[in-house]
């Protein structure tokens, strides 16, 4: 396979406060074996040689697990290849002479920090609100004391595979974080250990999600299609059911305490 010469339209933005714009670059001599991020490395080397500041983009593991990489590639999160993060997308899927549009995640809750990097800390805040099991270190019973059917462990693992990259939010026309939040809830609620705090957790995380500026879900399911870890929409049904129950229960509690007080 021969090398590729490409035309890239890349979002450049100095910082959160300044306006950004698309800038066009030519990048030459890209091996088809290179990954998408290696293609950007090559461009950055070419820019550096010309004294132009390289393009900022987030990445770390480059093997599809840390969730640090992002990018809208031709309007699709991670480039739109099934179950593949940008760092695992390879240039053999492009043709010589292609034009490629590269933008940061576009979402109200994820402001741009610089160029292609966005601030995803709202995800951390949602987890801090309830995405955990309260089990202080040292307090655990023997791991085999609580039996977990293989199917439950497998289902939990399916949801736990989320890498918090934010593709779901970026894909959603409303910028909703439903898939992310629901995946964490499903991970914990498909296990016996997650049951004691189930209702409180659901409510707390949904409240934090709303407060963090994510949009509402109106059932487009673009999130499911964009997820590089194949998280399925059924986690959202689970969350909605629990949320309805939790809301009911807390109303009951309020009525009761009103009565006694």
């Amino acid at each position: 396979m021969s090398d590729l010469n490409l035309t890239l339209h890349v979002w450049r933005q100095r910082n959160a406060k300044s306006p950004g714009k698309m800038v066009t670059y030519k990048v030459t001599g890209v091996s088809t074996h290179a990954s998408f991020l290696e293609m950007l490395d090559i461009l950055n080397e070419q820019l550096t040689a010309k004294g132009e500041e390289p393009i900022a983009f987030d990445h770390d593991c480059r093997e599809g697990i840390c969730g640090m990489c992002s990018l809208m590639i031709n309007g699709r999160p991670h480039g739109g290849q099934r179950a593949t993060t940008t760092c695992q997308l390879h240039m053999r899927h492009f043709k010589n002479g292609d034009e490629i549009w590269i933008e940061p995640w576009r979402a109200e809750a994820f402001p741009v920090i610089k160029d292609l990097c966005v601030d995803r800390t709202p995800f951390d805040r949602v987890i801090a609100a309830g995405g955990f099991i309260t089990a202080n270190c040292g307090s655990a019973p023997d791991a085999n004391d609580i039996l977990i059917p293989k199917e439950s462990a497998d289902d939990s693992m399916d949801a736990a595979a989320c890498i918090a990259c934010g593709a779901c939010v970026a894909a959603c026309p409303n910028g909703s974080a439903m898939l992310f939040v629901a995946a964490k809830l499903a991970h914990l609620h498909r296990l016996p250990q997650g049951q004691p705090e189930r209702m409180h957790r659901t409510q707390a995380m949904v409240t934090a999600m709303d407060a963090a500026g994510f949009g509402n879900c109106s059932n487009h399911y673009e999130c499911e299609a964009a997820c590089p870890k194949d998280i399925k929409r059924d986690v959202m049904a689970l969350m909605n059911r629990d949320y309805a129950k939790a809301a009911l229960a807390s109303r009951d509690r309020e009525t009761k305490s009103d009565g006694s007080g």
């Binding site: 500041e53 480059r62 987890i127 270190c137 023997d142 250990q193």
Partner: protein, 641 residues
């Protein structure tokens, strides 16, 4: 002058940890919140430490350079975590895990620490399960196990091929709980650039806010470093791009002894380099060697042929030939060197002749493609995504790659470095793995250090500090100011070179030097070559590197330049350490020291940990030794034939 006192408690090995805990001073619970602790790193080691110390009541500040603590490099671990649970009833025990680890490390680790690691391993699994880690289960609901290299029992716990991810998410959730409760202040996208030492004690750090570029001082009663390994000194490795030596190297320059810097692990099964644009290497799990057969053509002239056209008797299954007892499952260091050897002979396959086949043809014929897909589907998909080749049809091409660093800051039994008040955990310390780490033992060590050891040993240190209020330094004191000045001056210096060469070009060149001369096989000659080349490259870096952008804003080039500058100094220390260690042990293979192609240890001269002391700019560092005594596992030669 560095003082090495390992502070190993008395008593028989099984009692040492219990004795140590009993002798520790405790901090009055009501006083704990008055103690401030800095934890640098949010991986398994740092994240677990920060969360647990906060649960105990300390006032914790935690730092990481990624945008979220959940993205620490621990997330990438695939295979599993060891623990001496003996759930399989196959003869495992704390003592056996201890024994395997000491022997696997080729007798270059401290016995007492390794025994403690094996002891607490069982608690780790309990804690992780309680926190919702979805470990693999049997149909009956009990935990499942798999086997890993270097062990004859099945003691590895796992969560599909994403064990590190799931363990780290457990740690991260505990950490976020404490952040939500206001007990931990999290500084993400913040990089530690210096350690502050005052009156001989670690009193804080100086860090750079990677978003704004602001330099900030943080004071504390104690500092814990859990900043991971330095495999990226080789440029290409299985580590994440951001992994670096900066935090530990800066601490070394402030007086912390650096233990065994030359001990690095090369993993035999990684996807080979495909071009000079290559930015990292991807691991293919060791488990593949259960069913895959490793081979190269017998004749150099066959290397360009399609593998299907190479007849059975023209193939050299060299691991099966050389190590009939262990065959394709020979330990990592041995399998790696064997691959290098056949490629050096010109029999390697693929681009540049740097690859060997890992072939599933026979396994597929025997067990069907379906069964193989069940076992390794994920890995085969990943391989295909990266190479564009279908491993069900064509053998995989693999080659060894840098994977893990056993060396790190020297710590005593309490995990304290040679600087009082500075502790070091996880891959960043010089570790319990000696000269070679067994698979699935790094995750175990990180969590042991963070969950179960540092909460005790740090408490003891704090309890012995004079008075709570008198002990904390002010971030405006002269020690902090001096350190901030140094950090700023260095950043300015990097920005002001304005040369013509890119940062990556220097990093790649350094990596090449290290891989060729201080890699899988080392000789006095190659190391001397490296020791000449590195200072020249460093000098050129400071004369000709180009760092664009601003100092006082988000600048990934500047981050990278700082890390590469540290690698350029640290690499020299690695080569010095490798040159002086005139023996072969574990991952450190000196070609002059071998018998029949196998590593030859020299216990008379080198049964010790080497600990390096920084002596000042341009001065020769001083090498100290911590002698190692083996009282519970008898010194013996490893053999896999």
């Amino acid at each position: 002058m560095l003082k090495l006192d390992a502070r190993v408690p008395g008593g028989p090995i099984e009692q040492k940890w219990a004795n140590a805990r009993f002798e520790m001073k405790l901090v009055n619970p009501a006083n704990k919140r008055k103690y401030k602790v800095i934890v640098v790193g949010s991986g398994l080691a740092g994240g677990a430490a920060a969360a647990t110390l906060a649960e105990l009541g300390y006032d914790v500040a935690c730092f990481c350079f990624q945008d979220s603590p959940r993205r620490a490099h621990s997330i990438a671990a695939q295979g599993g975590i060891n623990a001496a649970k003996n759930y399989q009833n196959d003869g495992d025990s704390v003592h056996r895990l201890f024994y395997d680890t000491v022997k696997g490390g080729d007798f270059r680790a401290r016995e007492a620490n390794v025994h403690r690691l094996a002891e607490v391993s069982v608690d780790i699994i309990d804690q992780c399960a309680a926190m919702g880690v979805p470990f693999a289960r049997e149909y009956g609901g009990t935990l499942a196990n798999r086997s890993f290299g270097g062990a004859q029992v099945s003691r590895t716990f796992y969560a599909r091929g994403q064990t590190g991810q799931q363990l780290l998410l457990g740690v991260y959730s505990a950490l976020e709980r404490q952040i939500g409760a206001g007990k931990v202040t999290m500084f993400s996208r913040t990089e530690m650039l210096d350690l502050v030492v005052d009156n001989g004690r670690a009193v804080g750090i100086v860090a750079r806010d990677l978003v704004t570029g602001a330099i900030t001082s943080h004071a504390a009663h104690a500092v814990v470093l859990a900043t991971g390994g330095y495999g990226n000194v080789y440029y290409l490795s299985t580590n994440a791009k951001g992994c670096n030596v900066t935090a530990t190297y800066r601490a070394y320059k402030r007086g912390a002894g650096f233990g065994n810097p030359c001990f690095t692990q090369i993993h035999p099964t990684c996807i080979p380099v495909s071009g000079d644009f290559q930015s990292k290497l991807t691991l293919m799990s060791e488990s593949l060697r259960n069913d895959g057969r490793v081979w190269v053509p017998k004749s150099k002239t066959d290397t360009a042929k399609h593998p299907d056209q190479i007849a059975e008797d023209a193939r050299d299954y060299y691991l099966e030939r050389k190590y009939p007892a262990f065959g394709n499952l020979s330990p990592r260091d041995i399998a790696s060197r064997a691959a290098k050897e056949v490629c050096d002979e010109g029999r390697g396959v693929g681009p540049g002749g740097r690859g060997v086949y890992l072939d599933f043809r026979d396994a597929i014929a025997r067990d069907t493609e379906e069964r193989i897909r069940e076992r390794y589907g994920n890995l085969f998909d990943m391989y295909e995504r990266i190479t564009g080749e279908n491993p069900y049809r064509l053998p995989m091409r693999i080659y060894p790659a840098v994977h893990y660093t056993m060396g790190g800051l020297w710590v005593d039994y309490q995990l304290q470095t040679t600087i009082p008040g500075l502790f070091c955990l996880g891959e960043a310390n010089f570790s319990d793995h000696g000269a070679n780490r067994l698979g699935a033992s790094a995750l175990m060590q990180g969590l042991a250090d963070g969950y179960f050891i540092i909460p005790y040993t740090l408490g003891d240190y704090l309890a012995r500090l004079a008075g709570v209020n008198s002990a904390i330094a002010s971030p405006t004191s002269s020690a902090f100011a001096a350190s901030e000045d140094l950090v700023r001056a260095r950043l300015d210096r990097l920005m002001n070179v304005r040369g013509s060469r890119s940062i990556d070009s220097f990093h790649k060149e350094l990596g090449h030097i290290m891989w060729e001369h201080c890699g899988m096989a080392r000789s006095a000659e190659s190391l001397k070559t490296a020791l000449e080349a590195i200072p020249k490259l460093r000098e050129e870096f400071w004369r000709d590197v180009t760092v664009l952008g601003d100092r006082d804003s988000f600048n990934q080039s500047l981050e990278k330049a700082g890390r590469v500058a540290d690698f350029l100094e640290f690499a020299e220390l690695m080569c010095k350490d490798a040159l002086i260690r005139e023996e072969s042990c574990g991952g450190h293979f000196r070609v002059e020291h071998q018998i029949d192609g196998e590593a030859k240890r020299d216990d008379d001269r080198f049964c010790h940990a080497a600990v390096w002391e920084y002596a000042g700019e341009g001065k020769e560092p001083v090498r100290h030794v911590e002698p190692l005594a083996f009282e519970n596992v008898k010194l013996a030669t490893r053999s896999y034939k």
